[in-house]
């Protein structure tokens, strides 16, 4: 079941001469982790903002083509309200994603459910579960603005998880996370997909997502260049032509002149190269 669909979408930011997206088409289904990647400026972040309806509503600019997010065009009047609480958006800069009025992490996570008018009991239970899922119950009474970047990123993700969204849109969500945090987030993305949510994650972290994502969509200059199974695409050459790259080991193998299909993980590398 498709939760997010792009059909021939184009978008140009105000004042820009080059479109950020052109003729972009892809879909993301429920129960799957769809991974968007591309060179810097390829348009992955823009695609997420369009999917959430924040572009062009907040950013200005001109959109063409069709987008449906949970069956609605997010740019239409009233869509924002109808999608409220059903779509989670996580950006790479956690400090700017805080509500600005929470004095504790618990209040921060409760912000969106309270805005949606959930009953108190449901909010408290949901906040507890979300903190648990991000392994941060010990931070519940801390001031969110004084946390480290990694802790803050977990709080911001918990603040979305509490809504049990139908669609996740994550933009470089691991930028501030340490090794443990990355592993935890990757497990969370899988379990959210298992719960039936559609997960769309724009990321550079091939080492992390190679084994997490079900689908890989590679954007080049605002167009979909590749769309397929990550493990296949990462082993081949076309992903490099598209301006993206592979895992650390895949990169090493390519530089070392190993022909496709190349090894991706440390284990595969050992199997390939051990005498």
């Amino acid at each position: 079941m498709t939760r997010l669909g792009f059909d021939d979408v184009g978008f140009t930011y105000p004042g820009a001469t080059v479109p950020a997206l052109t003729g972009c088409s892809f879909a993301a289904g429920a129960g799957a982790v769809t991974w968007l990647t591309g060179a810097l400026g390829a348009g992955t972040s823009t695609a997420l903002l369009l999917a959430a309806g924040l572009a062009p509503m907040h950013t200005g600019g001109l959109r063409t083509g069709r987008i449906h997010t949970l069956g609605l065009d997010p740019a239409e009047d009233g869509a924002a309200r109808a999608l409220g609480g059903r779509v989670a958006l996580v950006l790479s800069t956690p400090a700017t994603q805080l509500s600005g009025i929470a004095e504790t992490v618990a209040q921060e996570v409760a912000f969106a459910p309270a805005n949606l008018g959930w009953p108190r009991d449901r909010i408290h239970a949901g906040v507890g579960r979300a903190l648990e899922a991000l392994a941060i119950p010990h931070l519940a009474t801390r001031d969110p603005t004084t946390l480290s970047g990694g802790e803050m990123q977990r709080v911001v993700i918990a603040a979305m998880l509490v809504l049990e969204p139908e669609l996740w849109l994550l933009d470089e969500p691991t930028s501030a996370l340490d090794v443990d945090g990355r592993a935890l987030l990757h497990r969370l993305l899988r379990s959210e997909a298992l719960r039936g949510a559609a997960v769309v994650v724009a990321s550079e972290d091939a080492d992390g997502l190679a084994t997490v994502a079900d689908r890989l969509v590679v954007l080049t200059a605002g167009r979909v260049a590749l769309d397929g199974v990550p493990q296949d695409l990462l082993r081949g050459d076309r992903i490099w032509d598209a301006g993206a790259g592979s895992t650390s080991i895949g990169t090493l193998a390519r530089v070392a002149g190993v022909a496709a299909p190349r090894p991706l993980s440390v284990d595969e590398g050992v199997a390939r190269w051990a005498r």
Binding site: L49, A52, L54, M57, H58, T59, A80, R81, G84, G85, V87, A88, L89, L91, T93, T96, Q97, L98, S99, G100, I101, A102, E103, T104, Q107, A110, F111, A112, P113, A114, N115, L116, G117, W118, P119, R120, I123, T145, A159, M160
Partner: protein, 247 residues
């Protein structure tokens, strides 16, 4: 923020200190004469002490002291009219009365405001507004700004550090210092505007601009005593105005 533990001011419903402060401000402006305003200032200090926000009365002295000094100089020393001699100083009688009245007036208002600030709890205020079903955006703006202040102050410090690390000198000729205004203020302004975009995204996604009635997470108790104090404060302020107008 600087309350004694278990202070009355911390347990009161958030609107109670608000109404009391407003009433003191109205009364301070309305009450005529030195005697009445000094009495109000004294009453305010006693009230603040009794509710556990005593430190606010002390902190209020910091902005008040220079004001009192200048009132004394400008009206007591430099004032017109008949003179009295106090401790060898020739002072204006009317000016002195005016200085005392104005000084007590400002003292009452400043003390009450700082006590209100000390007793202000952003979370309880947001919950109190949510519980009444009043517009959340108003509460959001007040609280978000209040909590943004320390962040912006910290950022201002880092900006100065970053530019000095690149060789910017903050002292020197006036021309140099005027030239330095851009490098020290623009990062704050541009950074704030860039952040506005992203925070706007986050607030939209987190339904801050919705029309649904917000849930109060821990609604503060509004006791009978709270309501009585608010009514009493409002009536006293009204009485002060009536006294001024018809008295």
């Amino acid at each position: 923020m600087t309350l004694a533990p278990g202070a009355l001011a911390a347990r009161a419903h958030p609107f109670t200190p608000l109404v009391v402060t407003a009433a003191i401000a109205v009364a301070a402006i309305a009450l005529p004469g030195a005697m009445a305003t000094v009495a109000l200032y004294a009453a305010t200090v006693i009230l603040v002490l009794a509710t556990g926000a005593g430190r606010a009365a002390l902190r209020a002295l910091v902005p008040l002291a220079p004001l009192w000094l200048f009132l004394f100089l400008l009206h007591g020393v430099l004032g017109d009219g008949s003179r009295v001699t106090v401790a060898g100083l020739s002072l204006s009688r009317d000016g002195l009365t005016l200085a005392v009245t104005q000084g007590a007036r400002l003292g009452a208002i400043a003390t009450a405001s700082l006590a209100l600030y000390a007793a202000f709890s952003p979370a309880r205020f947001v919950d109190a507004v949510a519980e009444r079903g009043w517009p959340f955006s108003a509460a959001y703006l007040v609280v978000a700004t209040l909590l943004a202040l320390p962040r912006f102050r910290a950022r201002a410090v880092v900006i100065l550090e970053a530019q000095r690390s690149r060789g910017l000198r903050l002292r020197g000729s006036v021309i140099n210092r005027i030239r330095a205004i851009g490098p020290v203020t623009f990062p704050l302004l541009l950074g704030a505007l860039a952040e506005v975009d992203e925070r706007g995204f986050a607030l939209e996604t987190r339904c801050a601009a919705g029309t649904v009635r917000r849930t109060a997470l821990a609604p503060p108790a509004d006791r009978m005593a709270d309501r009585m104090v608010r009514w009493a404060a409002a009536l006293s302020a009204g009485a002060a105005v009536v006294w001024r107008v018809f008295g």
